[in-house]
């Protein structure tokens, strides 16, 4: 099994507030890894450290290493823009740009210098197909993305992310604002996407973790209490705290 990302003893600080207190985990390639745990335990911070989205916060500071294909993503020689291209992100609330559906998906390619209409059209179509949205929007590509439903918007955001062909896709509770049917569609999509991408998903929904992911890590108070195969964690957890959490005794 090949690991695409290796996180070693990751500690994060905002000013002097210590959020992550030493997180070590390997992320296997072309698999789905779930991050579960109660609110305020640093799951989102962890995710946003993996594509350097925390860099925009001036008080943010980290210790430890994060390797992507063996390369330290926080190395001074590394271009943060390149990292974000290789590690894409889907947010909790769908956040399409107030542009047309086409322009939303083409955005990443345009930013990275693609401008030929034919090329853009081809990638927009394949990305929307991969995101299981093509059939619903193919006649309305010029319409505003804001006119789509919440579930469609989230699939559009996924299409937008895969259009730049990242290696890893981070998903921060991507279904938390969606109805059950939209949620099912996104989960089906995650299953399909893992053939081409590595996915790390933060979720508050235990069933979702068992449905979509092969591996799970349980976060508590800025540390990983338990990590491993999802089936093992949910059926016979080793740690008492993990068991308490997944059986709903806290969180």
């Amino acid at each position: 099994m090949e690991n695409i990302m290796q996180i070693k003893d990751l500690k994060t600080y905002f000013d002097n507030t210590n959020v992550l207190k030493g997180v070590t985990i390997d992320i296997p390639k072309h698999e789905v890894t779930s991050i579960i745990g109660p609110s305020g335990t640093g799951k989102s911070v962890f995710l946003r450290t993996l594509n350097r989205m925390n860099d925009v916060i001036s008080t943010f500071r980290k210790e430890g290493t994060i390797l992507l294909d063996g390369e330290d993503i926080y190395d001074s020689k590394v271009d943060v823009v390149d990292i974000r291209k290789r590690v894409g992100m889907v947010f909790q609330k769908p956040n399409p740009f107030p542009k047309s559906i086409f322009e939303n998906v083409a955005y990443g390619m345009r930013v990275h210098g693609a401008y030929k209409k034919a090329q853009l059209q081809e990638v927009v179509e394949s990305s929307l197909k991969n995101a299981a949205l093509w059939d619903e929007v193919k006649d309305d590509l010029d319409k505003s993305a804001m006119s789509l439903s919440g579930g469609q918007q989230q699939r559009l955001c996924i299409a937008r992310t895969i259009a730049v062909e990242p290696e890893v896709i981070l998903m921060d509770e991507p279904c938390s604002s969606l109805d059950p049917i939209s949620t099912t569609k996104i989960e089906d999509l995650i299953h399909k996407l893992k053939n081409d991408f590595t996915i790390i998903i933060v979720t508050h929904n235990m069933q979702q973790a068992t449905r979509v992911s092969k591996y799970t890590a349980f976060f508590l108070n800025g540390t990983i209490v338990e990590k491993g195969l999802t089936d093992k964690i949910f059926i016979e957890p080793e740690d008492k705290r993990t068991e308490d959490y997944i059986t709903g005794r806290f969180g």
Binding site: F91, N95, P98, M146
Partner: protein
């Protein structure tokens, strides 16, 4: 507790009061514009619009003034719009909060409240005399630009600040740089507010008299170059009225000025609304 007026009636009374105040605000506007158009419009015809004034405007038309207003407004906008918008981008997206930035904000607010005649005097001293431009369209336009910058800056800054953080994060997460995010996402999303700011600044420039009184000269021929003098509509109107040249022609000029401003405001509003609706999918 003993109330003088039962809440049910108090509510009704206040409804009427608010309604009346609202109507009053509209009524004043309608009255002023209505009166101006009523008195002024009869003077306005094609000859009035497109011919040169005779005897300083006692007879003839206002064509040179229309051209002057057009030129001077373009000069003001070409200078003020990029400066104001770029400064707004800097303040809203790049600067953060520090003493320097606070000083900039304080300065623009002060600038916005400086009386226009003071701008006029500055324009005279700086552009006309010190930079040796003489009385001309350029000196007047630059003076108006100085006046319009704070309006454009403040309105644009607010518009840029209201662009949701989630748009910016979405853009950054796709690997775009800060500048690309600003150009491709933030400014398009704020374009409605930015345009409003530019139009407000332009309206301030187009109707301004005091600031150009000492800078643009009062040549009543059609200006050809930026270094020619001019006689923009408000200045022409001012001269006609204060020097007792022709009150009817003053009203005619005022009517043209008002119509010009109304047309600009409404057409821009229409375009901005159409664009926003399209982008937001409504």
């Amino acid at each position: 507790m003993n109330r003088m007026i039962p809440p049910k009636y108090a509510q009704k009374i206040m409804n009427v009061v608010f309604w009346a105040v609202g109507i009053l605000a509209i009524a004043i506007l309608v009255m002023v514009i209505g009166y101006l158009l009523y008195v002024g419009l009869p003077q306005v015809n094609l000859t009035f619009l497109f011919s040169d004034p005779i005897d300083n405007g006692a007879a003839g038309g206002i064509w040179p003034s229309i051209v002057s207003t057009f030129y001077i407004t373009i000069v003001a906008l070409v200078v003020a719009a990029p400066l104001g918008v770029l400064a707004a981008v800097y303040l809203a997206e790049y600067s953060g909060e520090n003493t320097f930035v606070k000083t900039i904000r304080f300065a623009t607010e002060t600038l916005a409240s400086v009386p226009s005649i003071v701008f006029g005097l500055f324009g005279l001293a700086f552009f006309v005399v010190y930079l040796q431009m003489g009385f001309c369209i350029l000196a007047g336009g630059l003076t108006l630009a100085l006046m319009a910058i704070p309006t454009i800056l403040r309105t644009s800054e607010v518009a840029i600040e209201t662009v949701p953080q989630s748009y910016k994060e979405g853009s950054m997460a796709l690997g775009s740089s800060k500048w690309q995010t600003v150009i491709r996402v933030v400014i398009p999303a704020a374009i409605g507010g930015i345009t409003t700011g530019i139009i407000l600044g332009m309206a301030r420039a187009i109707e301004e008299t005091a600031a150009i009184l000492y800078t643009v000269g009062a040549t009543t021929t059609v200006p050809v170059s930026l270094f020619d003098g001019g006689d923009p509509l408000p200045l022409h109107l001012y001269t006609l009225a204060t020097e007792g040249i022709s009150l009817p022609n003053a009203y005619g000029t005022a009517a043209v000025l008002v119509i010009l401003i109304l047309v600009i405001t409404f057409s821009t509003n229409y375009l901005v609304e159409r664009y926003t609706k399209k982008m937001m999918g409504r």
